[in-house]
Amino acid sequence: MAGEPKSSPTTGSWPGRLVRNLLLWLLPAVAVWVLCTPFYNRFLALAGEQLSRALEFPAVTRLYVQETHQVIVTRSDLSGKQGFIYKFRLSDLHFTLVLTVALFLAVPGIPRRRRFENLGWALLISVVFHILVVFFYVKFVYSTQLGAWSNEHYGPVAQNIWGFGKHLLDLPFKLALPFILWAGFYFKDFQQHRRRA
C-alpha cells in the first residue's frame, strides 16, 4: 500500500530479534559466568556463612569452598573431621545468571544504557536471592540431614518449613528468577510492542 513504511532489516519481528540477540549474547554470558564463578562462589559462601552466623546462637557455622564449585558446611560444635557435615554444589545455585544476562541484554528496541542499568538491578536482586538460597540450604541441612541431631534440635514443623522453603527456592524460583526479573523490567515494553504490532 502506498505510504506504508516498509520494514527495514533491523525492524524484523520482535520475537525474531529477541531470539537472534539471545543467540548472540548467550556465549559471552556463559564466558563471563565461567570466569566469575570461582570468585562468586567464595563470595556466596562468605555471605551465606555471615547470614547463618548472624541468625544463630552460638555462631558455629562455617562454609568452605572446595574445588571451585562445591561448598562444605561445617559446625564447630559437632564432632567428626573438622566438623564436616554436608557438601553441595554452589555453582548449581547460580547458573541461571547466564540466562538473566542474556535475556536482559537481548531485549530489542531498548537503549543500551537502559538495558545495562536494568541488568545491574537484576543482578543485585539475584545476588540477594542466592545468599538467601545458601542460608535456606544450610538450615535444610541442619534440620533434615543430620539424623538424630536434626530430630533433637528441630521439630517436625521446622523441618517441613526449612525443607520445603529450600525446595521452592532451589527449584521453581531459582529456575524462574531470570524470567520473573525480565518480566518485571520489560513487561510494559513487551505489552507496548504487542499493541503496536
Binding site: L18, V98, L99, L171, P172, L175, I180, G184, Q191
Partner: protein, 190 residues
C-alpha cells in the same frame, strides 16, 4: 460579564500500583501459580501417581529414541542402560519444572481462556520435545564425552530447557494471546 471558568483540576498523580498494575498483577499471579503447582507436585500422592509414571514414560521415550539412533539401550525402570553408559531419569529431568514455569506464565498473562488453553497444549508438546532431545543428547554426551556430562546436565541443558520455555511464552504471547480487555473496534458508519 462572564467570569472565566477555573481550569480543570489536575489529575492526581497515579499511584505505583496504578502505574504498574499490569506488571504486578502478572508477576503476583505467576508466582502464586508457580508456588501452588510445585507444592502440588511435591505432595506424595501426586508425585507417586502422576509424576513418577510420567517420568517413566519420558525414560521409555528416551530409550526408544536412542535405540532408533543405534545405541542398543535397555530399560530398567527409569534407568536407560547400554554397555557403555547408564542414566537414571529422575524428577528434574522430566521437563515438568520448565512446563510448570511456562504454564504459570501463560495462565497469569491477560489473554482469553481459549488462547491460554491453546498455549498450554502447544507448550506441553514443544517443551517435552526439547526435553526428549535433552535426554538423548545427555546420554550421548555420557557415552562419547563423559567428562562433560556433569556440566552439560545441570548448566547447559537446564538453561536451554528453561530458555525454550521463556521463548515459547514470548512467541505465544506475541502471536496467539488475544487480550480480552481489547474489544474489537466497531466499523464506523458514514
Amino acid at each position: 460579564m462572564r467570569t472565566p471558568s477555573p481550569p480543570p483540576p489536575a489529575a492526581p498523580p497515579a499511584s505505583a500500583w496504578q502505574r504498574y498494575r499490569r506488571e504486578l498483577g502478572f508477576l503476583i499471579f505467576f508466582v502464586l501459580i508457580l508456588g501452588a503447582s510445585f507444592t502440588l507436585i511435591s505432595w506424595n500422592p501426586v508425585n507417586d501417581r502422576v509424576i513418577e509414571p510420567f517420568t517413566g514414560a519420558i525414560a521409555r521415550a528416551g530409550g526408544a529414541t536412542l535405540n532408533l539412533l543405534g545405541q542398543q539401550t535397555k530399560m530398567e525402570g527409569t534407568v536407560i542402560r547400554s554397555s557403555r553408559f547408564a542414566v537414571n531419569i529422575r524428577n528434574g529431568c522430566n521437563g515438568v519444572e520448565a512446563m510448570l514455569i511456562y504454564f504459570a506464565a501463560v495462565l497469569a498473562f491477560p489473554a482469553s481462556w481459549k488462547s491460554r488453553l491453546m498455549g498450554v497444549g502447544l507448550g506441553f508438546v514443544a517443551i517435552q520435545l526439547v526435553n526428549l532431545i535433552r535426554v538423548v543428547a545427555l546420554f550421548l554426551t555420557g557415552v562419547y564425552l563423559p567428562k562433560l556430562f556433569d556440566s552439560s546436565h545441570t548448566v547447559v541443558w537446564q538453561t536451554l530447557v528453561i530458555l525454550s520455555g521463556v521463548l515459547l511464552w514470548v512467541l505465544w504471547a506475541d502471536r496467539f494471546a488475544a487480550d480480552p480487555s481489547r474489544a474489537p473496534v466497531e466499523p464506523q458508519s458514514s
